[in-house]
């Protein structure tokens, strides 16, 4: 395979976004890094298929998303996971205390169905348009829109956001939510 320095730099520049997407999607840093690595290897193996001048990030996100889902299907056969929230809690890294701020949010995110989570991440965080997100997920624009809406509503419920309070749910609400979930 031949990859010129320019392409190599572009791939490297895409890594932070790919990691952020993979971590948010899978809920696990180790798994996310494996996903990113597999994505880069697959991209390199198929680099001739990439049309120069088109959106490299969108192409890479499509590869990562497809890898994530094929792995998800494989896992699902291996492990019983009825609600699909196999991501579970993010493994909090002790050396990154500041990241604890987002623990509640990530926890809520991991409770969303995978299709809603990815739609929200693509549109609400990664900066893709609804059209680009639809291309990445291989579905209709309307489907992405409704998934994003449902994801937002579900997150609001999980985090007990009513606009007047701070984002974090109080303990009682959270305990109730968790009881309801299991």
């Amino acid at each position: 395979m031949s990859v010129d320095p320019e392409m190599r730099d572009a791939l490297l520049a895409a890594v932070p976004s790919l990691r952020a997407f993979a971590i948010s999607l899978s809920g696990q840093v180790d798994r996310a890094d494996d996903l990113v690595q597999d994505t880069l290897l697959r991209a390199l193996a198929n680099i001739d298929r990439f049309e120069r001048g088109t959106n490299l990030n969108a192409w890479l996100f499509t590869i990562l998303r497809n890898l994530f889902h094929s792995e998800f299907r494989k896992r699902r056969r291996e492990v019983e996971d009825p609600d699909g929230s196999f991501a579970g809690r993010l493994q909090v890294q002790p050396e990154q205390g500041a990241h604890l701020d987002f623990e509640d949010f990530r926890d809520a995110l991991s409770r969303l169905p995978a299709d809603q989570r990815e739609a929200l991440l693509l549109v609400g965080a990664s900066g893709f348009s609804y059209e680009e997100a639809a291309n990445i997920c291989g579905c209709a624009v309307g489907t992405i829109k409704s998934r994003v809406n449902r994801a937002r509503s579900r997150l609001a419920a999980l985090l007990a956001v009513d606009g007047a309070e701070d984002l974090g749910p109080d303990r009682a609400t959270r305990a109730a939510l968790q009881t309801a979930a299991f």
Binding site: V3, V15, R19, Q37, F105, S126, A156, G163, A164, L167
Partner: protein
């Protein structure tokens, strides 16, 4: 839904959100807060240093390419 005055002030300009999704009603304040939190969580992840394995992967590839190119030229 319990809406206090603070929230009520935020509600009237709902129409000003261009292309705001209509279905399941979620008030703008809550939506904005979720959006902000999501973006700050994501920005926090994006700003993390890139693990060496990725730099190494792409650098190694570049070196092996150079070696291969030289080999091709010699051949």
């Amino acid at each position: 839904m319990n809406r206090d005055n603070r929230l009520a002030r935020a509600l009237p300009d709902q129409t000003s959100a261009p292309g705001a999704p209509a279905a399941p009603k979620l008030d703008r304040t809550a939506q904005t807060r979720i959006g902000d939190k999501l973006r700050s969580m994501y920005a926090d992840l994006v700003q993390q240093p890139v693990p060496d394995r990725f730099t190494a992967l792409l650098t190694k590839l570049h070196e092996s390419d150079s070696v291969a190119e030289k080999a091709e030229r010699k051949a």
